[in-house]
Subunit: 333 residues, 3 copies
């Protein structure tokens, strides 16, 4: 579609990992948000919903029985790793784990990523990889003869997080077209909000509000991209007003590690936009609060009990999305 002609440069796609087979797409790898169009997302979400049924009702599923997944993590991320490993095991598959490949593996002796992949692909049927370098997942996929799933490569992509975010909005609000989303917090460094903005542009009549402290405002590349895609967006400094208008308030953590020595700037940014009972009091009844987690105090704990607090359901949706992707990559539709 013409929408997809223009692409945000920082998310620039160089080749596609999704190919059309009959009416459905054949997934070979999951490398970046850009490989998913609206149709493919819809299909994946359908499978994710089937996975939810399986997880709840079929504890002894054998859909991936006999398949072996290697979690090759060059930097630790327990949350993401457990989510993938749970997804594999919930479908009857097995797992090989390396949670500190950078320090422990042959990488420390100078082995290239490509050589590591060619070895590990001999031991497994699919590789879920987390790496500290942008583009690492693409390089792995170019080498491997088995599917690769990118579980985050440095400042680059974390496509399964982007998918679970969109899936959660659809599940919670009931639709994606015409949605109003407030993106709040660290919009400059947050990989998740950037990817989410990118994917939301695939839907119609979406409106996005950016609410960020000055030092971590959304960058121009995404704004230009949204404009070119015909997505309405505006910047605001009034979280209350935005919250009162939105279907989704997507809060994020201000990342201390980005501020280095400038602790005062961090503290100022961090306290600026907090989702608390006051914000919840203006939020519409059908609207929800999301957060990629981990959370510090940018959402107060007393919000957790509110049924509109969707962030733990969102984390759980990550399980269903990952189950769906593992199934699609290993046994197809």
């Amino acid at each position: 579609s013409p929408k997809n002609v223009v692409r945000c440069s920082v998310l620039g796609v160089q080749n596609s990992h999704a190919f059309s087979v009959g009416k459905k797409f054949q997934l070979d790898d999951v490398i970046e948000g850009q490989q998913f169009d609206r149709g493919l997302l819809g299909n994946i979400f359908e499978v994710a919903r089937e996975m939810e049924m399986i997880e709840k009702n079929s504890p002894g599923s054998k859909i991936l029985k006999g398949y072996l997944m290697a979690t090759l993590f060059y930097e630790p991320s327990t949350r993401t790793r457990l989510s993938f490993e749970s997804a594999m095991k919930r479908l009857g598959g097995e797992v090989l784990t390396t949670e500190n490949a950078r320090e422990f593996s042959s990488a420390a002796k100078g082995e290239t990523l490509e050589d590591t992949i060619r070895t590990v692909e001999g031991y497994s049927d699919i590789i879920v990889m987390r790496h500290f370098e942008s583009g690492a997942a693409r390089r792995a996929a170019a080498t491997a003869s088995i599917p690769i799933i990118n579980a985050g490569d440095g400042p680059g992509q974390h496509p399964t997080q982007a998918l679970l975010d969109v899936y959660t909005i659809e599940r919670e609000v009931g639709r994606l077209d015409g949605i109003k989303v407030g993106l709040v917090g660290d919009l400059a460094n947050g990989r998740t909000v950037r990817s989410l903005a990118y994917l939301l542009a695939k839907y119609n009549n979406v409106k996005i509000f950016f609410v960020a402290p000055d030092v971590v405002k959304m960058k121009d590349d995404i704004k230009s991209y949204l404009t070119l895609q015909g997505v309405q967006w505006e910047e605001s400094t009034d979280l209350m007003e935005v919250a009162s208008m939105c279907d989704v308030v997507y809060q994020t953590r201000i990342q201390k590690e980005r501020f280095g020595e400038q602790i005062d700037l961090y503290e100022e940014a961090r306290g600026k936009y907090i989702v608390d009972q006051k914000v919840m009091s203006v939020l519409q009844k059908h609207a929800v609060v999301m957060h990629p987690l981990p959370r510090l105090d940018e959402i107060t704990v007393d919000v957790d009990a509110d049924p509109r607090a969707a962030y733990f359901r969102q984390a759980k949706n990550g399980l269903y999305i990952r189950m769906a992707l593992l199934k699609l990559l290993l046994v197809g539709w």
Copy 2:
């Protein structure tokens, strides 16, 4: 029962995790030694004995088929972790592992334990948690909608160790009422001996001997508790005499890390009470030597071949107790 009215303050129970359902108790979580009374212990030990039969004769057990256990370890403890993971797998269940959650997980970014639990409970059916803070397991259980097993929380509780100790005494000596137990070594800091003393007080006519170097004597809280419970106890400096009278000599390691700079005090304490061939020569024929392991040289290696050296059987009993608890928490009696 009136016995349970008085409780040792340092082991003070605030709420109960065991509820009566018909004749049997329903276990929701395993948090602390105090939640087990004599009847419940007896019932668990019966199941542990069934588990022993299963482990020996039914390698392909499917009792926990389709169940997923997360081992969430904030401090490493390979022995305890492997014991739980073996227990789960011997019953056909599956495992998600984090052996260094403190450093690797979102905890390092400031996430609360409660948030971590709410995420991990979405990926698993039961959480076995080891934590560096006293009370952490109770907090986890208060948050989680799935069962929590405390695999040690700092200086606090390690209830599965306490259970396996009592189970071992019953298996080795044949009874718990009327038992004479010598607790030897580091009685001030040893979590295991304190818990064991607490649980033994639930049986009749128990007599306990404390044999400890001066710097690590049993503290007054446990002594007062035993007195109030009507348990006979005395302190002794004569290991030979105690060994000749006891059914169980429970030796423990002097923990170097407790002595800080005072290496000379440590060395003096460490060499004071050693279980060796001389001690074994006065031990009664039916009596046994126990130790929670790891051992340094407080039991000499030449004792290992003596059939009364029960410590490796004791470690193995940990497997059966953990199999029993996993079964009871996940599928019931």
Copy 3:
């Protein structure tokens, strides 16, 4: 056989772990290369070939269903560990993992290896151990009542690597008698080339060429051993000539860690013998290049596409050899 009377001192065998049972040998443990004679190797290779069929055609194999393997790694080696764990899981078995036993386990508190083994054997059916001390595997096997596989003990033995190397030569070249092998690179410190030379001496009319920088030449003990066994060997400084005559060029990495401060010596040694397109151009059509991996630049990447580049197939053969050994140790022939 008389050949086996003389043994290389550094590989000196003290007792045997293979016993004759009827026509086949009964394997109790896998500790060192010396326990395998020509007949046993042939039998294991036959099973490895069956394992290859199973891995390719029977994803849901249940040959080791109900068996539990503990990977007890005192030093990390992700490649070897994943290979063993994949082997176990490909046969339907289950795994308990410790990838940093040295730091995390009771070893840090001063527990002996023997005590650790006596505990871990209670949780599993077989132990795969990697240790930093030569002879550790033998000590473990002397203690354990379940099978031990040595996955490398310090500068000592790494028998499964040796077996997969010989298996790869047979698979790639079609025979072992009459083979010409060029051993290239760090022959002084390389555990793999030393073990390979030792095992090749069991076959007839073998000729070995040593091609090594002066500082890391093959040591006299192996040379004397080969001479006594009637194996022809010679040293050469001309890799091109050796490559043109050999059936196998076995390249190895120069290990930087062996050179300490002497970086210049390392750099000189490292650049001396590189397998590149020029070397490939003189290699015979039926010949192959092997490497135990990880590789740095001692084989140039453009060689990878050559069908005679056998090193990734060699890594994969490690899986089949380990599947074969696990099957033989747990359920027999």
